[in-house]
Point group: C2
Chain length 129, copies 2
């Protein structure tokens, strides 16, 4: 499977887009199929314009896209961008978990923090894996 390149700014927008419960609910709804703005706005108490803005945010983040059907503009999910997000998270989550399972990690948790700092003089900078 070919993973599309996702820029730093793309990740900014994607994570920011999911940092809102309304937009997450929209994503949840769209995972069951495309929907129009009116259908998406129906469960919420906010105005239809506000929902339209939320969809614009999701679209700019690459999480949804819109097609045309007469005056309707059905929205559908872009799973690839969701996958890019989990890909970013998993890279560091897995690294941390593996480190946690190592002996160094055990020492860092059980011994005194001063001792662990002494045993792990790991001060190297962030290097992209």
């Amino acid at each position: 499977m070919i993973l599309s390149p996702v820029s730093d700014a793309d990740l900014d927008r994607a994570f920011a887009a999911l940092a809102d419960p309304v937009r997450r609910a929209i994503i949840a709804r769209l995972s069951r199929g495309a929907a129009t703005v009116n259908e998406l706005a129906e469960p919420f108490e906010i105005s239809k314009q506000a929902v339209s803005k939320h969809i614009q945010v999701l679209e700019l983040a690459g999480l949804v896209s819109r097609t045309r059907d007469a005056q309707r503009r059905p929205v559908h999910l872009e799973a690839a961008r969701l996958e890019a997000m989990t890909g970013w998270i998993d890279r560091y989550r897995l690294a941390a978990e593996q480190r946690f399972r190592s002996l160094d990690a055990v020492l860092e948790r059980t011994a005194s923090p001063a001792a662990s700092a002494a045993t792990t003089p790991n001060t190297d900078k962030e290097q992209q894996p």
Copy 2:
């Protein structure tokens, strides 16, 4: 494996926390081991106070935690919260991908979206597992 319950507000904070390149770089750095504020601030051109605020945001989001070591306050990653985020995303990503592979999805792409909307009148709300 037991998954800790994560509230809607927790997800708000976690996704918002990762919507910043500085904070993502901090996460990346911490995936290789705990670090102090000074160590984390060193690669950036912003002030140490600003980095301290970023760490507070990450801590409030449950993505990192701090221990005490004399005057140092080493920060370390909380992989569980990262896992909660991928868990949320994957639930809807997998549903969308499965739907995409089904015949309904094919019809939705080729036929009129109105017809597909009629075949999927599922309008129930997001339900926590």
